[in-house]
């Protein structure tokens, strides 16, 4: 346990803590800017993993119709279902654990940052004593020792404490709202009522849950979360565009045109299906980018109608 604790401190906590303090010193002793820049740097470092995760999730969603086919075709034969499923994944170049891999790496960063923010922003003597021992002495050419205790104030907020009402409510709104936007953008439309129900539940439950919890957090953490979400939204936009974000609150079930991939999947391999959808999305994005905003509005597909109306 001692070894794990030491590894955790030396590999995760201390580098993150020192990075945050250095950024604080560089950016005019401003903890808010330091957190924002730190979040950007963390997202940049984990960008390859994020991109991989996004692509893996897309691929997994696109393979859902094929998966249902396999389950129906080999109903009752679990071993065969499993075998065919793995073959499908192999052909598509998708790993079922691929979605988890990046998450497993990001989780220590999230947890570590959470604890680092607590350590640097709380200024009772116990926390301050602990802070001094985690600073790297070789960074002493910068005034990192002299910077303590760190000033937790940013835009009128004490980043080391939960905001009083109504500030905490406003912050919670942005936490939940930015989470909702990012989730909505990563959702793949589906005609399966069960999947729709599950998606809708997750779409609303997590932002609400997170928003409520964030009201009790030191406000530096919601700041990090919001910035991280905004970066996530930006990354998602460059990969898939706005995706299913608009309309924000769809009224009806998706158009039959969206079932076409599932009809075509009977004739296509898994790999071909993923590649085809990827290239179709890229062409769509290129067409969209050449249009003005008004043109885009005219050309935006209408839900509930097919593209070929004649």
């Amino acid at each position: 346990m001692e070894i794990i604790n030491t590894l955790w401190t030396e590999i995760i906590i201390r580098p993150m803590l020192n990075s945050l303090v250095v950024l604080y010193v560089i950016f005019f002793n401003n903890m808010g800017i330091a957190i924002i820049v730190f979040t950007i740097l963390v997202r940049l470092l984990t960008l390859p993993l994020t991109l991989k995760q996004v692509r893996q999730m897309r691929s997994m969603n696109l393979l859902q119709p094929k998966m249902r086919e396999i389950q129906e075709r080999f109903k009752g034969d679990r071993a065969r279902v499993s075998q065919e499923t793995m073959r499908m994944y192999r052909e598509a170049g998708v790993s079922p654990l691929g979605c988890l891999g990046p998450l497993v790496v990001q989780m220590p960063i999230l947890i570590g940052l959470f604890r680092v923010l607590i350590q640097t922003l709380f200024t009772n003597p116990d926390d301050l004593v602990g802070l001094s021992e985690k600073l790297y002495s070789w960074l002493a050419f910068l005034p990192i020792y002299e910077a303590a205790p760190l000033n937790p104030t940013f835009l009128g907020m004490n980043l080391g404490a939960a905001l009083p009402m109504p500030g905490s409510l406003i912050l919670a709104f942005f936490v939940g709202g930015s989470t909702w936007v990012q989730q909505k953008m990563t959702m793949m439309p589906t005609t399966d009522p069960r999947q729709q129900s599950s998606q809708n539940m997750m779409l609303w439950m997590m932002p609400v849950f997170l928003g409520v919890f964030s009201m009790g957090w030191p406000s530096g953490l919601p700041l990090y979360w919001i910035v991280s979400n905004l970066i996530g939204v930006s990354i998602q936009y460059f990969i898939t565009g706005w995706g299913p974000l608009f309309p924000l609150f769809p009224k009806a079930a998706p158009a039959p045109a969206l079932d076409q991939p599932s009809q075509r999947s009977q004739d296509m391999t898994s790999e071909e299906m993923v590649e085809d959808e990827s290239s179709r999305t890229n062409r769509t994005n290129r067409r969209r980018s050449r249009r003005t905003g008004a043109e885009r509005a005219r050309h935006r597909p209408q839900r509930g109608r097919g593209r070929n109306t004649k």
């Binding site: 998450l103 959470f114 709380f122 021992e133 020792y145 002299e146 997170l210």
Partner: protein, 383 residues
């Protein structure tokens, strides 16, 4: 996304550090055969110490379920009252005999926002026990009438005051998070001078040979002229913050750094020797007839020869509990304070409060020997 969300929320819910309650550091003091400790459970506890190694609880303040919230720096023992600056933001004067506020004691609130502000600084009493001074998280140094608990004057610094003030030559000296060392007139609170250092100051100043010596978070020990605040010299050999207050013998002053080193300096600031204690030094040290006693955060107590800087003895039974609270030793000239020595020469004794709630009386003669240990959480002798 879900996994990361759950992990962050679970961590937030389970983390002991999130919004952690401040409990203080178990400082212990003694006088008249009684040891007093401000426990992390939020009590001021009086222990009868007959010097035979057996201690018993005389009283707890406050009684019942009420708590003070603990203390970071040492209470001060007066003639009839004991004064403690508590984490709850109040300064208490407690009757030494009864363990209650009673007709002679009082309670004074010294913060403006009791939810978020505390008293970390320790109190100091002037020679005739008429005035008590203490710094506050609300950026003020308060001078309180010792008899009535009423404010005489207060001085506003630029930031929190965690440094325990020192009185000398009708002046009061202290440091602040705003990086300044302040010197005020004791009677009026008028600012005499201030000196800007490179880092926050939490250390207690030392007045020695007409100098004010104080350490800073810029890793330097400053020697300032006590009269006008002129910088006389600076020692910048430490590699981490200076948190503990310096102490001085006849020839040397001893500065402790959180880099784990004890630095002995002469009156001109020249380094004489340097002792490596192996872990961070936060607790204020004490000088006893045999030498210098320091306690490290790692739980070791060292008795060091003040001339040569060599180790005389080491006491390590307190480990792995941390030692952060100031050490206490009865003043060598105890006759002046009318203190009698009970059950052995208390001048050789050092009182140590550890973070696990235990309090030790250790005798520092040829070695470091435990006289007694008391577990304040269990209210019994240590096992």
């Amino acid at each position: 996304m879900l996994l990361s969300l759950i992990s962050v929320i679970a961590l937030g819910a389970c983390s002991p550090d999130l919004g952690s309650s401040i409990q203080g550091w178990s400082p212990a003091v003694a006088g008249d055969g009684v040891a007093y400790v401000a426990t992390q459970e939020g009590k001021l506890k009086a222990l009868i110490d007959d010097g035979t190694g057996v201690v018993s609880v005389k009283w707890n303040f406050p009684a019942g379920e009420e708590v003070l919230g603990g203390a970071f720096n040492s209470p001060v023992v007066g003639k009839e009252l004991i004064y403690v600056a508590a984490v709850d933001g109040n300064l208490y004067a407690v009757d030494k005999e009864s363990g209650t506020i009673g007709p002679k004691g009082w309670k004074s609130s010294l913060v403006q926002d009791a939810e978020r502000q505390h008293l970390v600084s320790g109190p100091v009493v002037d020679a005739d026990e008429s005035t008590i001074l203490v710094g506050s998280d609300d950026q003020h140094l308060y001078a309180i009438d010792a008899a009535r608990g009423e404010e005489k004057w207060k001085f506003k610094a630029g930031d929190k005051i965690w440094s325990t003030p020192v009185i000398a030559n009708e002046m009061v000296y202290f440091g602040s998070h705003d990086r300044n060392v302040y010197a005020l007139d004791l009677a009026t609170g008028e600012l005499k001078w201030q000196f800007l250092t490179g880092g926050a100051i939490v250390a207690r100043p030392l007045v020695w040979r007409d100098m004010v010596l104080i350490g800073s978070f810029d890793r330097k020990l400053y020697a300032l002229d006590a009269e006008n605040g002129t910088e006389l010299w600076t020692f910048n050999g430490a590699n981490n913050w200076i948190w503990a207050g310096a102490v001085a013998g006849d020839s040397f002053v001893f500065a402790l750094s959180m880099d784990g080193h004890v630095y002995a300096l002469d009156r001109l600031g020249n380094l004489q020797w340097d002792y490596d204690a192996g872990s961070s030094l936060v607790a204020d040290p004490v000088i006893v007839p045999r030498g210098l006693v320091v306690a490290s955060r790692g739980g070791d107590v060292f008795l060091i020869d003040i001339t040569a800087g060599t180790l005389i003895n080491q006491y390590s039974d307190i480990k792995p509990a941390e030692i952060l609270a100031p050490l206490f030793a009865l003043p060598i000239a105890d006759d002046a304070l009318g203190l009698t020595s009970v059950g052995g020469n208390q001048q050789d004794s050092v009182f140590v409060g550890a973070e696990d709630g235990t309090v030790y009386r250790i005798q520092a003669r040829s070695g470091l020997n435990r006289v007694w240990c008391f577990d304040t959480r269990e209210d019994r002798a240590c096992s």
